[in-house]
């Protein structure tokens, strides 16, 4: 006897608005079908009606947990269309701010993942406090807590303040101590280990065939990272190493993100030492933008959730077609294959470890 259960659009987890229709046989899952589109507002169509730099604030609201990464992706595409290159100091400044954004995004993921598993609200309040300290530092630099809009053509809008280096180093020392506490709390906890080890296994060939990206791909043993293979800014000088695990279950996906946070701390420390003096300001936004030189542009970046890509066909003052590839869209389509054969209580452990943000799925 097959029964159908509806996990409705509004449920008390903070992924957003998602509806799942689960077909069960006793306690085993036979089929999962997601219904999406509750947050679709047509960003690709809206961008065809705006000037180039006016749609930068639209791109930030696609993923509201790590907004600076998307605005960097879009401004890099426009820069390549116009033939503008940022100078050395601007590359270092952008890299430091982006890696701080990556740590903040993974901290929020850790808090809500532990909420779903049953360790109610302890890790949530700890990680939100750490994320608040990082957002305070970014507020000192850019002036706002959540939607920064600080990327300009050729650089940033405001340069780093003079005492940034000592504040950043103090914060990084504090974060290293806290990460050791998190590991002791979670990896010796029998509830966490029972619910994540051996749950939701994704093999290497399936991961490549299904097209998943980001930490989900690296936890199954595939050695691919945009920061090393299609390198941008100064990642080659700082000797960046991607983090790989081989088992492919929920515990491996947690471990990859934990190691990525520690790697980001190392990158920020070495970037602060090697940064040259100079001027990192970009062009201010004017009514008439610089002339466009290329017809078609392709740009890739490593966002905290996976790999993002923009393919843009340009016109004189506004884009003719803007096509976005977001990582959460294709990660959600792999849920059907991972959850087959698992028990119903494992569904939320798998869904939480894929790290979805629903506004990213529905563009």
């Amino acid at each position: 006897m097959l029964t159908k259960i509806n996990v409705g659009p509004i449920h008390p987890s903070t992924h957003g608005v998602l509806r799942l229709v689960v077909t069960l046989d006793g306690d085993t899952i036979v089929d999962v079908e997601p219904h999406i589109g509750f947050l679709h507002r047509g960003v690709e169509k809206l961008a065809e009606n705006r000037m180039y730099m006016q749609s930068e604030s639209y791109m930030e609201k696609i993923d509201y947990v790590a907004p600076m990464a998307y605005s960097d992706l879009y401004v890099a595409a426009v820069e390549e269309a116009m033939g503008i290159h940022p100078n050395e100091r601007a590359k270092y400044v952008r890299l430091i701010l982006l890696e701080f954004q990556r740590i903040a995004s993974h901290l929020l993921w850790l808090g809500t993942f532990c909420n779903d598993l049953g360790l109610m609200f302890t890790m949530f309040t700890w990680t939100l406090k750490d994320r608040d300290l990082i957002l305070n530092l970014l507020q000192d630099v850019t002036g706002s807590r959540m939607f920064y809009v600080n990327m300009r053509l050729g650089g940033v809008s405001i340069d780093l303040p003079p005492n940034f280096e000592e504040h950043a180093n103090k914060l990084l020392d504090y974060l290293e101590k806290r990460f050791k506490e998190y590991e002791i709390f979670l990896e010796k906890n029998p509830v966490f280990i029972e619910r994540t080890k051996g749950v939701g296994v994704l093999k290497k060939e399936d991961a490549i065939a299904l097209g998943v990206t980001g930490p989900v791909l690296r936890a199954s043993g595939v050695n691919f990272d945009v920061r090393r293979d299609y390198a941008y800014y100064v990642y080659e000088k700082l000797h960046f190493i991607p983090q790989i695990q081989t088992k492919g279950d929920s515990f491996a996906r947690y471990k990859v993100r934990m190691q990525e946070m520690k790697e980001s701390i190392k990158l920020i420390r070495s970037a602060l030492k090697l940064m040259p003096e100079g001027d990192a300001l970009g062009m201010p936004i004017k009514l008439i933008s610089p002339p466009v030189k290329e017809k078609e542009v392709i740009v890739r970046r490593e966002l905290p959730r996976g790999e993002g890509m923009i393919f843009m066909v340009t016109d004189k003052q506004r884009p003719y077609r803007l096509s976005l590839r977001t990582p959460a869209f294709i990660n959600l389509s792999a849920l059907k294959y991972i959850a087959k054969g698992a028990s119903y209580a494992d569904l939320f452990s798998i869904l939480g470890s894929l790290d979805l943000v629903m506004a990213d799925v529905d563009k």
């Binding site: 999406i36 589109g37 490549i208 595939v222 066909v313 590839r325 294709i330 389509s333 529905d362 563009k363």
Partner: protein, 120 residues
């Protein structure tokens, strides 16, 4: 590389057995008298990327590639509802505009801004 619609499946099978086994995205651009559909595929061993383009006239249908790449499921569903292309070979349901029957092909250039623009 630019190919015709009839050699699409043969070309993709040849590429996917020679190492290009990861599908990045399927997208389309609307030039008003014809559409251009682009497939982005990647080789995971030597990290090279290739894009395959073809031209579709208005009203033609596109063959499905789901036997070659399993990741094409969501991309084809989104393409068929946003541009109004029919997919031959399997049954596609709407993905993002599920509850809305009157809306046809919003990403085409002929979709007027004012047609569904009244508030409410």
């Amino acid at each position: 590389m630019k190919i015709n619609k009839e050699e699409l499946i043969k070309k993709l099978k040849e590429l996917s057995s020679s190492g290009y086994n990861y599908l990045v995205k399927i997208t389309a651009v609307d030039y008003i008298d014809h559409l251009e559909v682009i497939y982005f595929i990647r080789n995971m061993q030597n990290k090279k990327e290739e894009n395959v383009r073809l031209d579709l006239k208005n009203g033609e249908s596109l063959p499905t590639v789901i036997e070659i790449y399993k990741a094409a499921d969501y991309y084809e569903r989104e393409l068929s509802e946003m541009f109004g292309i029919a997919i031959e070979g399997r049954e596609v349901k709407r993905l993002l505009l599920e509850k809305w029957d009157g809306l046809e092909a919003p990403l085409r250039k002929s979709f007027q801004w004012g047609s569904d623009y009244k508030s409410g």
